[in-house]
């Protein structure tokens, strides 16, 4: 057996905080062999990113490595002086961050950034470095690298930028790449390509990869061996197939179980039959005018530039059912959702709620019937308001309660229904975790006793286990109140699990719709097929 590239022994990372010491990484040990891709998985706060940062020596102060050792090819590196560590970075250990939009300096061309990195580590002159940079870009799958090398980051799309980031990380042929959530910010179709590129480049160089991610699907498709982390500790280590198929530890079992799959055919309740759909969306269209200013048009003769965010979308939602709307970013699904609740006015088309057009201003009782749950539970609750006031706001605004005590009773009741202690109403949102906040958001949505709730990516900001709880809650409430949901999500697995009917959006157009099982098992549109293929899914593990 060859020597491991990296060897971590009993690593402890600590953050001295106001209220004592916070141990982010707690006695972690593992090895990565040359050419191996090690997946590190865990929910937020598990310490997986911190482990990566510790290896490359980039822990933000006041955090520090308290104990343990890190060896790079047998040489201890955790106690190197900063200057030596800095020359090691990029040269022997490369790193890829999550967000390609912010990883590149916007003021330099990608060529400048590549050449700078190459020349820092390799004894090449400017021209040679440039040549090498072009080769790297070509390898990373950037078309026309000779000309694109002089472009600035903002001239690339997100996926292309992540390719540049990978090229940068690999510029000096490091032995180890730490990829910290490299695809989490990308759409599924792009995600698949990036994983492919990363895998290919590392294989061709024999570089080892430490792939840190919360997405078990990505690991299932990419890694050979994996580590499951929780609360700073390693819970389980083993081959990917073993862990996913035969998890041993309780935590892992629960985790795997919480992950929805696009193959799952969860049994749902029967949707009650009603003669008329609750919501009818008819030829909904929305344009955004992005025309340049008056002077630009005057001088350059540029034309008006109108983006069709949503084009001629029509669908019905049955009362008591869940309609899933899926699509990648920019597909227009969120614009659709906002038009449905009246936050954005459509350019043309109608939204009928029980036969009444609601897209252009809602009447009092219609407002009460339609509610919305938002994606980011941190931004959807006013941080300066007490939870009780947040939940009571719709009741007060719509004058559904007559007195303060009545409102308080209702709030307490709602909190219990979303499985929160009624005493929570006296607290502020920041005292709650993400999942708890999303429950509060649901309680708020329920407070006006709506019939129809638009859920815009309700769980995409949550960890999988929390996601499962929130989805469960949503399902229970649907049964309890006979709610109708419009579920917007980029996560196909979630939609498969929750929806009765599904619509697939692409570039503002509804490309396909129908009952969920039909669409997932037998997609007709090319786009739907491509999307379904691209989704990394734990069921794909060999």
């Amino acid at each position: 057996m060859t020597e491991p590239i990296i060897s971590v022994r009993n690593l402890v990372v600590e953050f001295p905080l106001r209220r004592g010491l916070f141990t982010a990484v707690d006695g972690v040990s593992f090895d990565i062999m040359p050419g191996e891709i090690l997946g590190v998985v865990g929910e937020s706060g598990a310490g997986k990113s911190m482990t990566g940062a510790a290896i490359i020596g980039l822990i933000e102060p006041p955090g520090r490595i308290a104990r343990g050792e890190i060896y790079l090819k047998g040489c201890r590196i955790d106690n190197l002086p900063p200057e030596e560590m800095s020359s090691l970075r990029g040269k022997r250990i490369g790193m890829v961050f999550q967000d390609p939009l912010t990883s590149l300096n916007p003021l330099y061309t990608i060529g400048q950034q590549l050449i700078e990195t190459i020349r820092r580590h390799l004894p090449l002159n400017e021209a040679q470095a440039r040549q090498r940079a072009i080769e790297l870009l070509a390898e990373a799958g950037i078309p026309n690298p000779e000309t694109r090398i002089d472009s600035y980051p903002h001239q690339f799309s997100g996926g292309m930028r992540q390719r540049v980031v990978i090229a940068l990380a690999l510029a000096a042929e490091p032995e180890l790449i730490i990829a910290d959530e490299p695809t989490s910010a990308l759409d599924v179709s792009v995600q698949a390509q990036i994983i492919k590129v990363l895998k290919k480049l590392c294989e061709s160089r024999g570089a080892a990869v430490m792939l840190v991610t919360h997405d078990m699907g990505v690991i299932a498709e990419t890694a050979s061996r994996m580590i499951v982390m929780n609360k700073g500790k390693i819970v389980e280590t083993g081959s990917v197939g073993d862990i996913i198929k035969r998890p041993k530890e309780d935590y892992t079992i629960r985790l795997i179980k919480a992950i929805p799959s696009i193959k799952d055919e969860t049994r749902r309740h029967e949707v009650p039959v009603s003669p008329k759909p609750l919501v009818e969306v008819k030829n909904l269209t929305r344009d955004f005018d992005l025309s340049p200013g008056f002077f630009d048009r005057l001088i350059k003769g540029s034309k008006r530039n109108v983006v069709h965010a949503v084009r001629d979308v029509s669908f019905d939602i049955r009362k008591g059912s869940t309609y899933g709307l899926v699509g990648e970013s920019g597909s227009g699904k969120s614009t659709c959702a906002r038009m449905l609740v009246g936050l954005i006015k459509p350019t043309s088309g109608n939204v009928l709620l029980q036969g009444e057009d609601i897209a252009r201003g809602l009447s009092q009782e219609r407002r009460q019937m339609v509610q919305m749950i938002f994606q980011d539970p941190y931004a959807s609750l006013n941080p300066r308001w007490r939870v009780g006031d947040i939940i009571a706001e719709p009741m007060r605004a719509l004058k559904l309660v007559s007195s303060r005590s009545e409102a308080e009773d209702r709030v307490a009741d709602l909190l219990q229904r979303v499985r929160l202690d009624p005493i929570s109403m006296r607290k502020y949102p920041h005292e709650f975790s993400g999942g708890q906040r999303q429950r509060i958001a649901i309680a708020r949505a329920l407070s006006s006793q709506p019939e129809f709730i638009v859920c815009d990516e309700p769980t995409s900001a949550l960890d999988v286990s929390v996601q499962a709880q929130v989805l469960d809650l949503m399902r229970d409430l649907q049964d309890e109140y006979g709610l109708t949901y419009l579920l917007i999500s980029h996560n196909l697995a979630v939609v498969r699990q929750m929806a009765d009917d599904v619509g697939v959006m692409h570039s503002g157009v509804l490309v396909e719709q129908g009952p969920v099982d039909t669409i997932f098992d037998n997609p007709q549109a090319d786009y739907t097929r491509m999307l379904l293929n691209a989704v990394p899914d734990i069921s794909k593990v060999e």
Partner: protein, 325 residues
């Protein structure tokens, strides 16, 4: 780019017009020029005559129209007080103000930038804390007090530096410069320091805040992960990105240095446009005051334009792409 500049110019014209209106309206109320123009021996009918001759009895819009028509030609009339063409007066005072403003701008920029970078790079060091606290003294002291203090210490007690004026000046073309004589340079030191102190503090704090912000950005972490040296990261990446927001505010700040110099010029008897303005305010020399305000507006417009162009030069996101912010 051209479109952008044109748009800016259109805005600038509006700005100038508004300032002209405000300037004109304000000055009607600052005081009665007639009272200060005529001496103790004048009689009532003289006042009336003079008012009539100055057109002060005309309706407001007639006076304003006359003012605009002349201003467009760069003609602001004859100073009531000094009886010389205002444009000539302002032009002859301009070199003094510009040299003072530039000297203090350079002091403010050099020290502001370097101290700002230092405090951002070593935010937790004792020296940085000391600099941050001391710099607040700079904004807690009124300018006039700093000036008087410096005069007292360096001119009266120590007698190292002159207390007033510009020293000897050398005429180059139509420009009187004090930068070529030793007395000129020595005279510049105290007023330049006085004027720069406030801006220095602002720039330093701005640079520090922006740089701390930039240093937290992902691309800086990524640059570290790429193994770049601290030098390259701090000065190649962080500083350049810091400059983008700093340029706008600093540019505008430096523009206002010229206008800010009113107090400094008064204290040091610096023969610039600021002291010309204050002298004119005291006797309600309306042509000079109006011209001064227009001049300040013009400086503002020009600096804004330069800042915008600099922005273009520094930030590729503006240069390439739709050209809209």
């Amino acid at each position: 780019m051209l479109a952008f500049i044109l748009r800016r110019l259109a805005q600038s014209i509006v700005v100038m017009a508004v300032v002209a209106l405000i300037a004109f309206m304000l000055f009607r109320y600052v005081g009665d020029p007639v009272a200060s123009l005529l001496g103790q021996d004048s009689r009532l009918q003289d006042f009336e005559e003079l008012r009539e001759r100055l057109g002060l009895n005309d309706p407001f819009y007639v006076q304003f129209g006359r003012f605009i028509a002349n201003a467009v030609q760069g003609e602001f009339g004859i100073s009531y007080r000094l009886q010389q063409p205002v444009s000539e007066l302002i032009l002859s005072r301009l070199p003094a103000t510009i040299e003072l403003a530039f000297a203090s701008a350079i002091i403010a920029l050099v020290f502001g930038l370097s101290l700002g970078v230092f405090t951002a790079l070593k935010p937790r060091s004792f020296a940085a804390g000391l600099i941050m606290t001391l710099s607040l003294v700079g904004v807690s002291l009124p300018t006039f007090l700093i000036g008087i203090g410096l005069i007292y210490v360096f001119a009266v007690e120590l007698q190292w530096l002159p207390s007033f004026g510009r020293g000897d000046v050398v005429r180059i073309g139509s420009w009187d410069t004090g930068l070529l004589t030793s007395t000129g340079i020595r005279s510049l030191i105290l007023p330049a320091i006085t004027l720069s102190l406030f801006q220095l503090t602002l720039i330093m704090r701005l640079v520090r805040a922006e740089m701390l912000e930039v240093l937290r950005q992902d691309y800086i972490r990524f640059a570290r992960a790429r193994g770049l040296s601290n030098r390259a990261i701090n000065f190649g990446h962080a500083l350049k990105n810091t400059m983008v927001p700093v340029i706008t505010i600093t540019g505008l700040q430096l523009g206002s240095v010229i206008a800010f110099s009113i107090v400094t010029e008064t204290v040091f008897q610096w023969p610039g446009v600021g002291s010309l303005f204050i002298n004119s305010v005291q006797v309600v020399d309306v042509p000079v005051m109006a011209a001064y305000l227009m001049f300040i507006a013009f400086v503002f417009v020009v600096i804004n334009l330069i800042v915008d162009i600099l922005y273009f030069a520094v930030d590729p996101r503006l240069r390439i792409g739709s050209g809209r912010r």
